[in-house]
């Protein structure tokens, strides 16, 4: 019996039964695990997450998008916003003892592509000489502002101006107010009249302001100041936008006036989908508007940041590429890589655009409202600016020529020169707008010299300061510069020169001129939400983090290259 029972467990039927039982157990286990998992996941999906109006999950319609707060580094990272410094006459005497200059910070890029420069800016109260220069520079605007329109002449008493030079006038007015040369009533009166006039200007073909306007009448004119239209300049508009943002952020009571100016403009053609900026001109034969890419390395990025400060997305214009470098006195000087023979636009390397970026924007990205002055979130701009400074100092040390090069006006023909560090394949090339080489017009540009002095606290800029700080006519303003070949002063007075000089002096007192926006929403973003005007004119929404211009870096030059 026992033997029989053992034999039965090894039978075929027993094996089948065992297999079937094991399969059933396995199937039951799989079912139970699957059911359990399904219940877990389904339970998560079915969980109701409340979408808060205006929150991250709220797909806000365009009608309401204007109320979104602008995303900045302070709002997202919880960092403290920079604050607007007090006017110079309101500063405590120990004000500059407390500011952080980052003197213990090593120069170079950070992990987030910010850059710490090798040099620090000058900071402190203005001394008597500097105040005299500031008052004289402001005197230019007192002399040459037209009562009828509030516009200031670009050059002396020649009654025409551009948006670039009008921005210089605004810079002068802001500096004069902050340096306590003028008081608020006069400042408000000037800015209000100016912006009201600009709001009423006849635009170029109902798009954007014409390149040039007559300052007495406010009529749009051509380059010879005759009634007509030329086109618009994206670079000029970009600089103007920088200063409108500065005014709006510093003086909220002028915000609505500022917004109302921009809300008359049509931005549909000035920036394309790739983020490239376009200017326009009139075709001579057909009379049609021609849109052409505008801006080269230096100016292009500065103007692009002006647009970005108002929510536009000039991604491509803000990039350095395509760029090349030319080795001059051991410095790899960056210049625009677009071939002038193909693009018919010169690649001038001058100091001015780097200075304006440094003085006005602190070499920071538009969304950065919290980093200290010594840390530049638009890192490569600061690093390139260091090279622009260094090559000029090196030239002075190797040749003895004081060098602070920029574009500047000259008296008589050709009226204007690009006094460049590099252009057309040549270093220290001084050329006219039509391309003639005019070395006799090479000069130490006053605005460049004092700009370098403000941003680079070095022995060399002390020399520049001595050359320029008394270069004025007390009855008119600061001279344009000092001829390099000993022909004396560049005896011409311009809004741009005097405006940048005032900006440089203001930077010494207050640091980066652009201050954070302190309000919540802006009319610029909320207006016309119930119409299609915003879409037609390409008005942007408040920029969010994904809209920020990227912080990039390029290879850094750490040692001299010979």
């Amino acid at each position: 019996m026992v033997k029989k029972s053992v034999t039965s467990k090894k039978s075929v039927s027993y094996g089948i039964a065992l297999l079937a039982g094991a399969g059933a157990v396995l199937a039951g286990a799989v079912f139970s695990v699957g059911a359990g998992a399904r219940s877990i996941f389904l339970a998560q999906e079915e969980e109701i997450i409340p979408i808060i109006a205006g929150g991250d999950l709220d797909n806000i319609p365009a009608l309401m998008r204007g109320n979104l707060p602008v995303a900045t580094t302070s709002s997202l990272a919880g960092e403290h916003k920079r604050t607007k410094p007090p006017r110079m006459c309101e500063m405590p005497k120990d004000y500059f003892e407390k500011i952080d200059q980052g003197l213990d910070q090593a120069s170079g890029y950070t992990r987030r592509n910010e850059y710490v420069r090798k040099y620090r800016p000058r900071r402190g109260f203005l001394n008597e000489r500097e105040m005299r220069a500031a008052r004289t520079a402001w005197h230019y605007f007192e002399l040459f502002t037209q009562e009828s329109t509030g516009l200031a002449n670009s050059v002396g008493n020649y009654p025409s101006t551009t948006l670039w030079d009008t921005a210089s006038y605004i810079a002068g007015a802001v500096a004069a107010y902050e340096l306590c040369i003028i008081e608020k009533p006069e400042f408000d009166k000037r800015i209000t009249q100016l912006l009201t006039t600009i709001k009423g200007l006849e635009l170029f073909r109902k798009e954007l302001p014409n390149k040039v306007y007559h300052t007495k009448t406010g009529a749009k004119v051509d380059y010879t100041n005759k009634p007509g239209e030329i086109g618009f300049s994206a670079l000029d508009i970009g600089r103007f936008l920088v200063w409108l943002r500065i005014v709006k952020n510093r003086y909220p009571h002028l915000g609505n006036t500022v917004d109302s100016v921009l809300l008359k403009w049509d931005f549909r053609n000035v920036i394309d989908d790739e983020g490239l900026m376009f200017g326009s001109y009139v075709d001579k034969d057909s009379g049609e508007t021609v849109y052409a890419q505008e801006g080269r390395l230096g100016y292009e990025e500065y103007a692009a940041k002006g647009f970005a400060l108002w929510g536009f997305k000039p991604y491509l214009a803000h990039r350095a590429e395509p760029f090349l470098t030319a080795s001059i006195y051991g410095v790899q000087v960056p210049y625009d890589g677009r071939d002038p023979r193909i693009f018919h636009s010169q690649n001038y390397v001058v100091t001015e655009s780097y200075l304006q970026d440094g003085l006005e924007l602190g070499f920071d990205l538009p969304h950065d409202d919290s980093s200290p002055d010594w840390l530049h979130s638009d890192g490569w701009r600061a690093e390139f600016a260091d090279r622009i400074y260094q090559v000029q100092e090196n030239r002075w040390r190797r040749t003895g020529f004081m060098t602070a090069r920029s574009e500047h006006n000259v008296k008589g023909p050709p009226y204007f020169t690009y006094d460049t560090i590099f252009s057309d394949g040549y270093p220290w090339n001084t050329v006219t707008p039509r391309g003639d080489y005019v070395p006799d017009h090479a000069a130490v540009a006053a605005k460049a010299a004092l700009g370098l002095w403000a941003l680079w606290d070095t022995d060399y800029t002390d020399v520049l300061y001595e050359a320029i700080i008394e270069l004025y006519d007390p009855e008119t303003g600061m001279f344009e510069g000092l001829y390099e070949r000993g022909q004396g002063r560049v005896e011409i007075f311009t809004a741009n020169n005097n405006g940048i000089i005032l900006t440089s002096l203001l930077h010494k007192v207050q640091g980066t001129i652009l201050t954070p926006y302190t309000g919540e929403t802006e009319v610029w973003y909320t207006a016309y939400r119930d119409q299609d005007i915003r879409i037609v004119r390409n008005y942007p929404d408040p920029p969010q983090k994904e809209d920020w211009l990227p912080a990039l870096r390029h290879s850094e030059q750490t040692q001299a290259d010979f």
Partner: protein
């Protein structure tokens, strides 16, 4: 430093660019920039290959366009206000001739280093050398060879002197054995042409022979752009005095200038005649004219013969005037040939003088009228006016001689005519196989030879064979 007639004007021009210090000066300079300063249309090309380009302006004012190109071995660029640079280097950076114009005028000056020059009121170039002094000697250099030029290069340049300077590389000033100055003349010719072109309101006719003038038809059209009514360019319009000047006054000015040119040419002609008057033989100019005269006579004979031939052929039939006229056009008409042989310079003279009558009385009246015209309108003194009238009479006589065959030639012609006519009369007969005159003349000229019988060819060939050997032997 030498002073010249136009020193004041040149000084004024220099004063435009070299000014005293002070804000007032700056203001003045800026004010000088105005659309009224535009005297040139940069879309009218100065030479083949030039182009108009846009300026890259960052400031609030300036010229929106300019023109650049390469001509006569130098690169150039100029603005609407006439400001120009000429250089053998495309950067226009070395060896530069600069041209500056007095604002709102066509008075311009070329300058390079110590050399400056401009057009005087007579359209002649007048150069000025800052370092030149009395007694200096001047040399032009081409390659390694030097040629001394007279000090009259400091006076208005004649064509030969201008050509010499244009074709030279450098101008050297020597004081004794010392070289005082050396000025490059590269671009001198191009700048001279440019100055004349400006002065003539961008008229191509004043440019030198052989100048690479852009397409003639377009150029003529473009030249009209300087007229206010036709101006279409969006660039600053030249505020040319010519646009506001009364056309009547303009015509008078042109007339006076034409008179002056005629007088100048007459004086030059007389000067050249004086220089060769001691030679016993006729002047070299006369010899070709005699040959031309012979050719003219022969051609006229041929034309007359052809007319006679046609007359004979159509003797039996009603003449077809239209066809006859068409046929005779195959030969040059005698008057036009004669006119073309007439010196062109004498033509304006005839037109500009008061019209002469006929007969001795009328001739005396004409002389008086001419004399009065020269003295009152041109402002010449009586002696000079009389001299010019005498020269004019001589020129007219020469002209008349050119037009009218001499007696000898007439005799020869008659003789020749008789011979040829007799030969023709022998050859031309009523041959039935020949086409009629009407048939021949109704055919287009271009295809007539294919329809004519070979006898006609033989006839003309024989004619020329018969004429030319005689003509050659008669000389």
């Amino acid at each position: 430093m030498l002073t010249f007639q136009n020193t004041a004007l040149a000084g004024l021009l220099i004063g435009v660019s070299v000014t005293a210090a002070g804000s007032q000066v700056q203001i003045q300079n800026v004010e000088n920039f105005a659309s009224e300063n535009a005297i040139l249309d940069t879309s009218i090309l100065f030479a083949i290959g030039a182009r108009e380009a846009r300026q890259e302006l960052r400031g609030a004012f300036g010229w929106p366009t300019f023109q650049e190109g390469l001509v006569d071995g130098v690169y150039f660029r100029f603005d609407p206000d006439g400001y120009a640079r000429f250089s053998p280097n495309p950067r226009l950076d070395t060896d530069v001739f600069e041209v500056v114009c007095r604002p709102r005028t066509y008075s311009c000056m070329g300058r390079k280093g110590t050399l400056s020059y401009m057009l005087n009121s007579r359209g002649e170039l007048q150069i000025r050398l800052e370092n030149a002094a009395e007694g200096d000697r001047f040399f032009v250099v081409e390659g390694i060879s030097e040629l001394e030029v007279p000090a009259r290069i400091l006076q208005p340049l004649d064509d030969r002197m201008e050509t010499l300077l244009s074709s030279s590389d450098e101008l050297i000033i020597r004081r004794g054995q010392d070289e005082v100055d050396r000025v490059s003349l590269v671009g001198f010719g191009a700048v001279s042409a440019y100055l004349r072109w400006i002065s003539a309101r961008q008229d191509y006719t004043v440019l030198p022979r052989g100048w690479p003038i852009p397409n003639g038809a377009n150029g003529a059209t473009d030249a009209n752009l300087t007229q206010a009514a036709n101006w279409q360019s969006p660039m600053p319009q030249p505020q040319t005095p010519i646009q506001t000047v009364d056309t009547g006054v303009d015509a008078e000015m042109a007339e006076v200038k034409g008179e002056l040119n005629v007088l100048r040419e007459l004086l030059l002609e007389r000067h050249s005649q004086n220089s060769v008057s001691t030679q016993p033989v006729a002047s070299p100019v006369q010899s070709p004219s005699q040959e031309a005269l012979r050719i003219v006579e022969l051609e006229r004979n041929a034309a007359e013969l052809q007319a006679e031939l046609e007359r004979l052929r159509s003797a039996a039939q009603p003449p077809n005037q239209e066809a006859l006229g068409h046929k005779t056009e195959m030969f040059p008409a005698a008057p036009s040939v004669v006119a073309s042989a007439t010196p062109a310079a004498t033509q304006p003279e005839q037109a500009s003088y008061p019209q002469a009558g006929t007969g001795p009385k009328a001739e005396a009246g004409t002389l008086a009228a001419r004399l009065e015209y020269l003295m009152t309108e041109i402002g010449l003194d009586a002696k000079t006016a009389l001299m010019i009238i005498e020269m004019g009479s001589e020129a007219e006589m020469d002209e008349t001689e050119t037009i009218t065959p001499t007696t000898v030639a007439e005799t020869y012609q008659n003789q020749l005519m008789n011979e040829i006519l007799s030969e023709l009369h022998k050859s031309v007969g009523p041959k039935p196989e020949q086409p009629t005159v009407e048939q021949t003349q109704l055919e287009p000229v271009s295809i007539a030879p294919t329809t004519l019988p070979p006898q006609d060819y033989v006839l003309l060939s024989d004619y020329f064979r018969s004429v030319f050997p005689q003509a050659q032997t008669s000389q």
